[in-house]
Symmetry: C2
Subunit: 481 residues, 2 copies
């Protein structure tokens, strides 16, 4: 009998059989409004950690720990507010088996019915006609977290061991900057996470709505600010207009030299650092399930730079981009205020890709901004600085873990997954790779239109249930290798 017949078919059948229980588990999770950005809801975030503790205990996980991360650093309204704990748990500890660390987060984005939700955001709504589960956290990231628990439940129901040792790391601050996580991962690398062979993160999405994907790359992000000021206070444009050099005018001049309206980065040397696309890699884009219409539908905008799939995906995944986000310190309200702001701070960021050297980029950017400003001959002062950076990440999509995930996906969905990258960053990916010195796999459960941070967040029932099968299948293929 084949491996698939022996292991996957009974597992998948059991998952189908347990579907009502699995939906019920997700419903109980969604009912807890674990919004990490709202300090007043912090007790509910902790409730969610306790819910996980209870579920993990019932399922037979061992060594379950709610890791205290101390108080949340400022800015906070309540100086004594604690960070929600990171939930660690193990299932199985056979030294002969490989160990897979699975990461997910149990906190969610804010949601209010009044924001425009069709149903109560913290009450799972099962649309049985469309077979869709609506609710905050269904896809981001309670669905995937419940997925791992469901896989264990299915194995228990079959009376099976897991094919690998499972280590869970579920955090409660992902939507609020993953405060405390990096330090915990570093601290536990040689302790709780000592024997981990690989890491699987299920916290992103398919590119589109019909074809599963595995994700092997992320862009980085270097975020800069340009501070231009004079020594005075905000001034009245009637009295000082035409008399005093305006920081906002200088800022607009400098920012106009960063990027053009076609998206071309104007800072010399940046594009030159980008790794060339090989013909083989270029061909990878051909099969990906994505269209210009998908872009328009997802963005709501017709203002796309590119009229073909390949250029869109290259610009999203493997080419740098420069965005101007806004200005701090200038007038930002409605109406007509005749102020000359004394100190304005322009904000922009560059999405980074291989082989951009982050430190070299900073130097190029800051020196260029200084040069452009100097050419203005302004008497104002300038300070340009990096205020945040996150590295890009690219891994080998043909390694053991990706191969296992690819096989599992294909077996569940009857189609080879697309190998995708993402334009945004998932900083924890790099943390695990660096601290545990392992490969990391991004194995998404939901679809590109799930609306993770929007109103009416949803997870299709097929994605939830097939997602559980994919996670389970992945563990079997990976354990078999």
């Amino acid at each position: 009998m084949s491996f698939e017949k022996l292991y996957l078919e009974p597992l998948f059948a059991k998952i189908e059989e347990l579907k009502p229980q699995f939906i019920n588990r997700l419903a109980r999770a969604v009912a807890i409004p674990s919004v990490s950005s709202d300090e007043s809801l912090r007790p509910r975030v902790v409730d969610m950690a306790k819910f996980l503790y209870s579920e993990l205990t019932t399922l037979g996980f061992k060594d379950i720990q709610l890791k205290d991360l101390g108080n949340q650093p400022s800015p906070v309204a309540d100086e004594n507010i604690s960070l929600p704990p990171i939930v660690l748990a193990r299932f199985g500890g056979d030294p002969a088996k490989k160990t897979v660390l699975v990461y997910g987060h149990y906190d969610v984005q804010p949601a209010l019915k009044e924001d425009g939700w069709s149903t109560e955001p913290f009450k799972l709504h099962h649309d049985e006609a469309a077979e869709i589960l609506y609710g905050r956290g269904t896809t981001d990231d309670k669905g995937p977290v419940m997925g791992w628990l469901n896989v264990v439940e299915a194995h228990n129901a079959l009376g099976w061991e897991l094919p690998i040792n499972l280590v869970c790391c579920f955090e409660g601050m992902e939507e609020s900057g993953s405060l405390g996580l990096d330090r915990l991962v570093a601290k536990e690398a040689q302790r709780y996470f000592k024997s981990v062979d690989t890491v699987c993160i299920s916290d992103n999405y398919w590119l589109g709505t019909t074809k599963p994907v595995l994700t092997y790359g992320l862009r980085g992000c270097n975020y800069y600010q340009i501070v231009i000021s004079h020594s005075g206070a905000d001034l009245h444009s009637g009295i000082y207009g035409g008399v005093i050099a305006e920081p906002m005018v200088d800022l607009v001049q400098v920012m106009s030299k960063l990027v053009d309206s076609k998206g071309n980065i104007l800072i010399p040397g940046v594009n030159e650092m980008v790794a060339p696309v090989t013909e083989k890699k270029d061909a990878l884009y051909d099969n990906i399930d994505f269209t210009v219409d998908d872009l328009h539908a997802a963005s709501g905008s017709n203002a796309s730079f590119h009229d073909n799939k390949k250029d869109i995906l290259k610009h999203r995944w493997r080419l740098p981009s420069l965005s101007i986000h806004g200005v701090q310190g200038a007038f930002y309200g409605p109406g007509a205020k005749t102020v000359i702001p004394a100190k304005v701070i322009g904000k922009f960021s560059i999405r980074t890709v291989p082989d951009i050297d982050s430190a070299k980029l900073d130097k190029l950017v800051i020196e260029y901004v200084q040069k452009v400003f100097a050419e203005l001959g302004s008497k104002n002062q300038l300070n340009a600085e990096l205020i945040h950076d996150g590295a890009y990440w690219v891994t080998d999509p043909f390694n053991e873990s990706f191969t296992a995930a690819s096989k599992a996906t294909e077996h569940v969905w009857n189609v080879k997954p697309d190998f995708t990258r993402e334009g945004g960053s998932i900083p924890i990916t790099l943390t695990f790779e660096k601290e545990l010195k392992t490969q990391v796999l991004l194995l998404p459960m939901g679809r590109g239109d799930d609306g993770a941070h929007s109103i009416n967040e949803k997870l299709n029932v097929s994605n939830y249930i097939n997602g559980c099968k994919t996670l389970g299948g992945y563990l079997h293929y990976y354990g078999k290798q």
Copy 2:
């Protein structure tokens, strides 16, 4: 006996004698926190109108009316909040005499001790060593309003009639857009204000701190916004950076073409509309009491475009300027938010001077913005529009009213006043000129460093008392002509 000996010397002596009463009157006015922008303080603004009613009655004014202006239009917190009344009053009605309308406002800017005031803002503090009166409204504009009342009190004490018929128009919403005033002035032009020969407004300041001025010009202000948007929502720069044309990038490009870092307006045709400076007018700047250091001290900034008095004053008074005030809709907070705003609104204004035609300016500006945007080739949408305009104002500084004021000022201060213009606008000036078809004089009482809208607003005792003499002297010289 000379006119001055006969009339001014006794009047001035009486004013000196009544100084304690006059300071007491100002103290009682300052004690009423008539902040027009704070709806919760609206009853106190009305209390201030009642205070004026009582004072005017005691002094023997006639036909005193508190003109109801109806409810304040939205945006308001309380939909039923009434505008404070405009206080009208007459003193004298001799058809053989000329009639002078005096305008002032009895509302004030907000002030809290916590803002950094050295003393309670709504309690007059008489610094007897420095001979300075501190308190909100001392200079803007309760000092000048009390000044007119003081002039009448001095005449009463002397047993004199006024040399002219006086009509008072004191409003309570000046610091909040003078809501209701334009309509009232238009309505009363042929009624309450029927016989008015000239208008005197005491609501501005000396240019510096030592030399009195008369003001004969104001710049106008046309305020524009540039709306650039796409049809979608705010987007994430990780996913859409490099893929979707960013409205903020387009806006920065367009705004960079409006004005350069030297203050030069880049919109063709604007500078061409400016009236040339004649040699005679150019010479007028030579004697004005003002230095580059005054500019630096007042602005707190060393970033001045010009290194000499004449250029500074020309650029403030008789040349247009373009200021970029800010951006609505973009990220404006601290920190690093990776948003691509979907709709951004750039705000800028042009200060106007003779002979700029406002409608022609709007056309030049809007068509230029459209042209610059079109050249970008962006797929975003643009809308450029005027959102507010106020005309410039210039009058003849050698007319009857200015000549009277000049003589009075010289007699009080022993120096010929400087004839100044202002860079900002005082819209009511134009309203009176247009509706009453009379000349308007701006006759300031306070100094350039009084801090009208700032903490520690003050009025020097000498300015208050000499100001009363100047107002009284002005009426005598004007009545004599």
